[in-house]
């Protein structure tokens, strides 16, 4: 019945609206608060940043009129905005908007994720004139450029609103039903090239199966969060196109250094060696993705393809030997995970692997709020979660590494002066090469000392109908789908 479906799709495409199926919708739709994909995949076409990535992932001006002027001590950044840009409500973009946005992002009570990055560095913001912003820093902050490239700018009246999404992008949000659907239409006053689509409609299909059925039946054009176990069947379907990309998609995997059993190096080593990395890749990720080594994955800055500390299949003999040497007598621990099914699957496979060397891993699944309670309170032995950071950090994931720093609020009691030094470099240097080198070094230390050892690097998968132009795999490396750049293949 493929022709049938094609006809249906063609009929539907007459209105020029791209139908996107998503797995979950943000409730707080303020893009300034969250860099999570679930928010940003909707706001991508709506909001814009001061700088943006070009196709080589270099930062180039977008709302900014040019490169920032940085004072000699690196503490004052002055940025000029492009003139003539308007918000979706018709207001012109001004320095006020940028100042309001930045203020929001250091406001502790805003609940914005950016606070983590900004607090302690950003000190003052002033609108020098209608189109010029000055940012004062408390200390040099090399990552700021990256942030300015990822951080959306909001309208000054809207920065604190959680139920609105007002931007300067090619599409504007017409209406949304919380948790259900988001309707976007092309913004006539857009300053850039006119998009091919007349609108984008996001619909939440919480159930993966329903999402895929709808795609196969041509009710939607593109789905995110493709369930890994369905990969084979989608790939076999000639009407569909699958794009699989390496992306800054991490499995956060921390062990608590401060207490038994993970304060014991041999125990840690045994666990790391007995980790069934190949099993996770094959059973959970449908043979996509790579077995993990250190915390930095293939799509991220500082990735080291040479680093091969662990074999994909667990080395049980070696693990048992380590375990025999371990001082701790404990042979069980708890893995705390969130509610994501993928993470649960990972933990299940891991636990089954560790069981083979006589270590019992109890999987404890807790809701999101409780999960972060655990992380914050260091009330875990091993903690696991899936984490996407492409929209806050670009081709890197600084947050994932942060807890390795003893000074970090989330520190798990690992204390290595070299690592601390490297962390400072990463955050402060303006030299990308230096940052990359520091990251590579950190990655090696953390891997070899079995501090952070994610079992795999998951792939990012997008499935779409062939009646639409393919998404840009290059953008996908930074988590960007950029639906506004798609069009219907007629």
């Amino acid at each position: 019945s493929t022709p049938d479906i094609s006809a249906r799709v063609a009929e539907r495409h007459k209105d020029g609206i791209l139908q996107v199926g998503i797995d979950t919708a943000p409730s707080n739709i303020n893009p300034l608060d969250s860099g999570a994909e679930r928010t940003r995949w909707i706001s991508e076409a709506v909001v814009e940043t001061l700088y943006a990535y070009d196709k080589d992932h270099r930062s180039v001006p977008l709302l900014a009129a040019g490169e920032p002027e940085i004072s000699a001590d690196g503490l004052t950044w002055t940025i000029r905005l492009r003139d003539g840009i308007t918000w979706h409500n018709g207001d012109p973009l001004t320095a006020e908007d940028v100042v309001a946005t930045l203020k929001h992002m250091v406001n502790l009570s805003s609940g914005s994720e950016w606070v983590t990055y900004m607090i302690g560095y950003l000190q003052s913001f002033t609108a020098l004139d209608r189109l010029t912003v000055r940012i004062g820093l408390a200390r040099p902050y090399g990552l700021l450029r990256s942030h300015l490239t990822n951080m959306p700018i909001g309208h000054h009246d809207h920065v604190d609103r959680k139920d609105a999404m007002l931007g300067t992008g090619p599409f504007k949000l017409d209406r949304y039903v919380p948790g259900q659907s988001f309707t976007l239409s092309a913004y006539a006053g857009y300053h850039g090239p006119k998009p091919a689509l007349s609108g984008i409609q996001y619909t939440v299909f919480a159930d993966g199966a329903t999402r895929l059925v709808s795609l196969k039946q041509g009710k939607i054009d593109l789905v995110t969060a493709v369930p890994y176990e369905h990969l084979a069947s989608i790939q076999a379907n000639k009407d569909l196109r699958v794009t699989i990309a390496e992306a800054p998609l991490d499995i956060l995997c921390y062990v608590n250094f401060g207490q038994e059993p993970f304060n014991d190096e041999n125990f840690r080593r045994a666990v790391a060696v007995a980790t069934d990395r190949a099993g996770v890749v094959s059973r959970v990720f449908g043979n996509q993705g790579k077995p993990g080594q250190g915390p930095i994955g293939p799509a991220e800055l500082g990735y080291d393809p040479e680093l091969k500390v662990y074999s994909p299949a667990p080395d049980l003999e070696l693990a048992k030997r380590y375990l025999a040497k371990a001082a701790t007598k404990q042979r069980s621990f708890t893995i705390t995970i969130g509610t994501s099914g993928t993470v649960r699957n990972i933990a299940t496979v891991l636990a089954a692997g560790w069981a083979q060397i006589g270590i019992t891993a109890n999987i404890e699944q807790v809701s999101g709020g409780e999960w972060s309670n655990r992380l914050v309170g260091r009330k875990y032995e091993m903690i696991l979660e899936l984490f996407q950071s492409g929209f806050t950090a670009g081709p890197a994931n600084y947050i994932a590494l942060a807890p390795a720093d003893p000074a970090n609020v989330l520190s798990f009691h690992y204390d290595n002066p070299e690592l601390t030094r490297l962390t400072a470099t990463v955050w402060q240097t303006t030299d990308d090469a230096e940052r990359a080198a520091a990251l590579r070094r950190m990655n090696r230390i953390l891997t070899e000392e079995m501090i952070i050892f994610p079992p795999a690097y998951p792939p990012l998968i997008i499935a779409q109908r062939r009646e639409t132009t393919p998404v840009d795999p290059n953008g996908l490396r930074l988590s960007r789908i950029a639906p506004h750049t798609l069009s219907f293949a007629s």
Binding site: S109, G111, S214, K219, I220, G369, L375
Partner: protein, 329 residues
Amino acid sequence: MLAVLRKRVTNMVVVVFLVISGMFFLLHLAPASPANQLPPAVAADPQALAEYRASLGLDRNIFIQYWNYLTGLLRGDFGRSLYDHSSVLTSIGRALPVTLELGLLAGVGSMVPGILLGIWAAVRRGEWVDGAARVVTVLSLSVPAYWLAVLSLLFVGQRYPDLLPSAGGFVRFTEQPIANLQVLLLPSFVLGLGTFALVARALRASLTEVMSADYVGFAAAMGMPRRRLLGRVAVRNAIIPTLTVMGVLLGGLISGTVLVESIFAIPGLGHLMVTAYLRGDYPLALGCSLVTAAIFLGLNLIVDLLNHLVDPRTLPGRQAPTGAKGAAG
């Protein structure tokens, strides 16, 4: 009747008030806190946490919060969601009609066939119809709605895509009646199945009992035509115990919407409530629960009034205190 109504409504208000107070205090004593929703790195900062709590007014005395909530309720203000700060009342207002429609469809769609089957089975007691009805109802009762939903979603949904929720979100009856009904067909079937079975069973049981009552015997002995005997005498009296079960059934229906809406992605109150509870969005959860409770109590009230109508004996003071109190026994 009015006095009964007045008394029942007062009672209902008292109960709703109890529910509000109980839930409010319990939720505020609960270990979970809205601050859990902050990014971990923010939540780890005590100052950030304190400011966040203050911004939500959570640092104030619990009784003041309670008072504010109560007075807010009276003004029709159910508070704001912790997540998107949207008005709880607006969210409920959007979700409620959908749930009511679903509930109505499921309710009517289950009770009418349930009543018919119950009558049929009772009339043909001991025959194959009765046996079949018994099997059907017990099975219907034993099939969990969500399992059925999952199966039907996939098996039926694959074949008849129009029965699945469509892209662009749920279509409302006011927008596209046909599409709306199509999409609600499967959910209301799944939702109503249990109610259907219970109604059929309850009615069969009470009708069987009534059929052996003296008054039915007398009517039959007087040669009253079967249909009239059933309608005027038997069913009218048999429906009374079924009506009292109806209150419980309505609770089941409302519970069911919670599940069914989540599975079929129907943006109703149940879905909203589950999301709210899952996220710990307490103002929203509280608001949804209150509205649900009010609806439930209201429906029960209606059922009770119906009961009084069908069975005037239950009206207080209607029973005659006459001298001859009957020589029963």
